[in-house]
Amino acid sequence: MHKREIKKTMIYVFLLLITFISISPLVWMFMTAFKIRREIFAMPPVWIPKPPTLNNFISIFAGDSCRTPFIYNSLIISLSTVLLAVLIATMAAYGFAKYKIPRSKDIEFWILSTRMMPPIAAVIPLFLLFRNVGLLDTRRGLILIYIAFNLPFAIWMMSIFFRQLPREIEEAAVIDGCSTFGLLRHISLPLVAPGLAVVAIFTFYFTWNELLFALVLTSRAAKTFPVSISEFRGVVNIRWGPMAAASMVHIAPVIAITFLIQKYIVAGLTLGAVKR
């Protein structure tokens, strides 16, 4: 029994160590965000800023490296994408899950495969097409694309959720004279609501993190938060403090999302191939 206790403690310590190493870069960034310039450039490094300063965050929201318009853009773009992608995807997923559609399996696999296409192959032609129709550097242009690149994920996951619903409930509703859209609205949707929420959160997460499309297709008016963060690298002397602060602002919702959907992350990132 004593030996077991020692083993337990060892495993605990070991896991704590692994976890700390894994997130140590993030912890370092967190510390840097609260440092003054002198501490950032100090060697040997100053581990814990004292006293911590909020100047880096102030410069992000109000100062000379103001990021608020880009944060706003990212929020608008992500939320619009979630709304529209989930709407279109729910309809399609319901169609695939509940009706007999000729060659539906082939169509679903084709939809899934569009998800796996390298974005670089899409962004070059889309840049030229957008240039011709004046959609470059617009929020609605980016939203159009983000919907397309989140639809496959959303359709696939939603159809998994719809297929898990027990048939009997819906059959009973049909016998009671429920119309198709009534069935979807009053019976099926409430039952898959948790799944719907997970898909919506994932879609927000993918859009919030996306770089390549935003980098190529926006320049000023519709520039997103990730692009504006990546620009810290462009200058000769990188302003580490504001960079760290902007990064913390960007990852705060991501950390919240991670805790919120931790049970579904494996299923989400493997498109339902691995369940938990």
Partner: protein
């Protein structure tokens, strides 16, 4: 009823299908068309049709071949390291779970944070850590009495530094998959193995690895696809340099198209990436959902 149903199902699925054709299939076809021309958006004169000229040029372009080699190398090393690390750590988490240690779920969620944040930010953090004068990486080396390393500034080291960051960020993904696989193994099997006196390495070789094979292969295939289109991390850390030592396929196509404005040439490179992507996607789909009924 029946006619109504027939209409409704198409009303439900057609918007999604039409949307995807317009925004993915059509651009790909358009991209193939561009890749057969000399289109350069910085030049005023119209593009010329040159057939497969761009593709022939790519195959003799030393930078493209380096990008191809780098991508293969980076992918191979990354997925091996991610798998080995991920499996070992998953096993420790698994043992901890079997002891019913408190707070393990919380620890696991904290552990996976690096893969959840965007590679741009993770890359920028490492840019700071790797900085030759104010980075902590060289500070730790100096504590050990080792000379400073130019992590991202030397062409023979930069690619390894990027692999290090990539593995650091994505080992948690393989760990989560392995852990999901391990948790799905019936506990009786471990019990039987224990009674038969199997050692831990026999358990790994004859029970754990064979039984979680499917999960491992799915994880590796997903990571191979991710690495094949790796862009964000390289873009913020080295931008493909120094020279072209960390150039990847996506980076190459991006630079050709949007820095040199050689869109025709860049499109041809992206079509090659696309073909590789389609092959990988088909393998993944066949392997994952091909045999059994999914859902």
């Amino acid at each position: 009823m029946s006619k109504n149903r027939r209409v409704i199902k198409y009303v439900l699925i057609l918007p999604a299908i039409v949307y995807l054709i317009l925004l993915t299939v059509y651009p790909f076809i358009y991209s193939i068309k561009i890749s057969l021309t000399t289109l350069n958006i910085a030049r005023p004169y119209p593009p010329r049709y040159i057939g497969l000229g761009n593709y022939a040029k790519l195959l003799s372009d030393s930078i493209f071949l380096i990008a191809m080699r780098n991508t293969f190398f980076l992918t191979a090393i990354s997925i091996c390291a991610e798998f080995v690390l991920g499996f070992i750590i998953a096993r420790i988490f698994f043992i901890a779970a079997s002891f019913k240690l408190k707070g393990i779920g919380f620890l696991r969620t904290i552990y996976m944070l690096p893969m959840m944040i965007t590679p741009i930010i993770f890359g920028l953090i490492w840019l700071y850590i790797f900085n030759p004068t104010l980075g902590v990486a060289n500070y730790f080396l100096s504590l050990l009495g080792l000379p400073p390393v130019s992590w991202l500034g030397k062409s023979n080291i930069a690619l390894y530094s990027i692999i290090l960051v990539n593995v650091w960020e994505w080992a948690p993904f393989m760990m989560l998959l392995c852990l999901a696989g391990l948790s799905a193994i019936p506990p009786e099997l471990f019990e039987v193995a224990r009674i038969d006196g199997a050692s831990w390495h026999q358990s790994v070789a004859f029970i754990e690895l064979p039984l979680i094979k499917r999960v491992i292969v799915i994880g590796l295939l997903i990571r191979i696809m991710d690495n094949f289109r790796l862009f964000d991390l390289v873009y913020v850390t080295t931008g493909g340099g120094p020279g072209s030592s960390t150039e990847t396929l996506s980076m190459f196509a991006y630079r050709q198209s949007f820095m040199f404005f050689n869109v025709g040439y860049g499109a041809a490179a992206s079509i090659i990436i696309l073909i590789l992507g389609i092959i990988l996607a088909q393998v993944l789909i066949k392997y994952t959902w091909g045999k059994e009924e999914y859902a």
